[in-house]
Symmetry: C2
Subunit: 246 residues, 2 copies
Amino acid sequence: MRFSSPTSSDGVREQIFQLGDVPGVLWTPQDAAGPRPLILLGHGGGQHKMAPGVVFRAHRFVTELGVAAVAVDVPNHGDRIDERYDRIVAENRARVAAGEDLSSVVGSFQELAARQTVPEWRAVLDAVQELDHVGAGPVGYWGVSLGCGLGVPFVAAEPRVTAAVLGLGGAFGAAADLARRITVPVEFLVQWDDERVPRDRSLALFDALGSAEKTLHANPGEHGELPRHELDSATRFFARHLVQPG
Amino acid sequence: MRFSSPTSSDGVREQIFQLGDVPGVLWTPQDAAGPRPLILLGHGGGQHKMAPGVVFRAHRFVTELGVAAVAVDVPNHGDRIDERYDRIVAENRARVAAGEDLSSVVGSFQELAARQTVPEWRAVLDAVQELDHVGAGPVGYWGVSLGCGLGVPFVAAEPRVTAAVLGLGGAFGAAADLARRITVPVEFLVQWDDERVPRDRSLALFDALGSAEKTLHANPGEHGELPRHELDSATRFFARHLVQPG
């Protein structure tokens, strides 16, 4: 794990890193010492680890909760050019053009990508939790849209994750089966007028979650119009389940 | 409007009152002086103005938000024996026994009751807002189940209401048409495994709400199993829209 020089702003220390092929960024409280909870943030499709929404949420979690936050580029996003994925994306466009259902194409793409991202993200947890100012505390996951499509298999596979905010995703491909394996508390976000994810598929994914404690939050608006008060809610959700559990 | 002697506990002053035929209770901060927002709480079916859940929520709103809270008995509930309603309830039981859909019977009953409760509740607002320690501030409404069935027509009719928490109710009878007239922010609670309100009718009522800002919160569990964290959320919702609007 190689780190660039850290920078700081608004009480948050930011460290860009590279772990094998995976470029990432770690945010911690300015003067962090000792172990603390860690939140992994998954970015959306076409975005990257430093997308404004990711950075904004990471800063909020770090400053309000005192946790560490980490984000990495998904293959073929951000700093990771990957021609294999370009080829798959081109093939998928052709499948949709030929009349195949967009949702099922997206579902199969996310399944393919998750085979790579799940082990990558677990390796990132291993590495980051060895740092003194992160340590082996409980782990939360925040991810919507692509971050939900990749987050569901990750949360299902990774026992260190004890709470997750997911959403803007649907029961496509293997997602519902994987969601049934999730048993940690989940806050699940739905945009009521989502033009990309049919409402019934969103509700079906929430329904499939195996968690005894799960809350669906639905708001009017399209896929990209999550209201700001949902970040307040996510912050309190992590405070309840990650910082002061029990 | 006649008041009994006030009592106080935990920083909350409680005044039982009678306004015409309507028995009610007003809660205010111990040392309240001057105008403040007011939250009207609707109770559930078979409950009354002093049901533990109503009192608990009222105390929470008063102590955390500094607002006034008021609740009244619905006809044939609490201190209000009303033989006409007994007769209707008996008739409704017979209709259900004869195979009529329970939801439609409940819907028509709530429509009938709302013809009486909407003007009663508006008169209570008039009277309570004349008190110096309540005054003419913005009004919130909290009510689920029967409190939603009667709350939807009330919020639709009463322009002083600027924010409402509703839920555990469905698009029965005229409810959807009335919901379309509601334009204030709404937090809408759904129990995902509600044995009394079919899920699709709950979602249809949320869908019908005319509010630009509305949030659906769905949690696992039956009709009576609202999780405690939803009261935290309702308190913050009223803080946002009633106490510090804009």
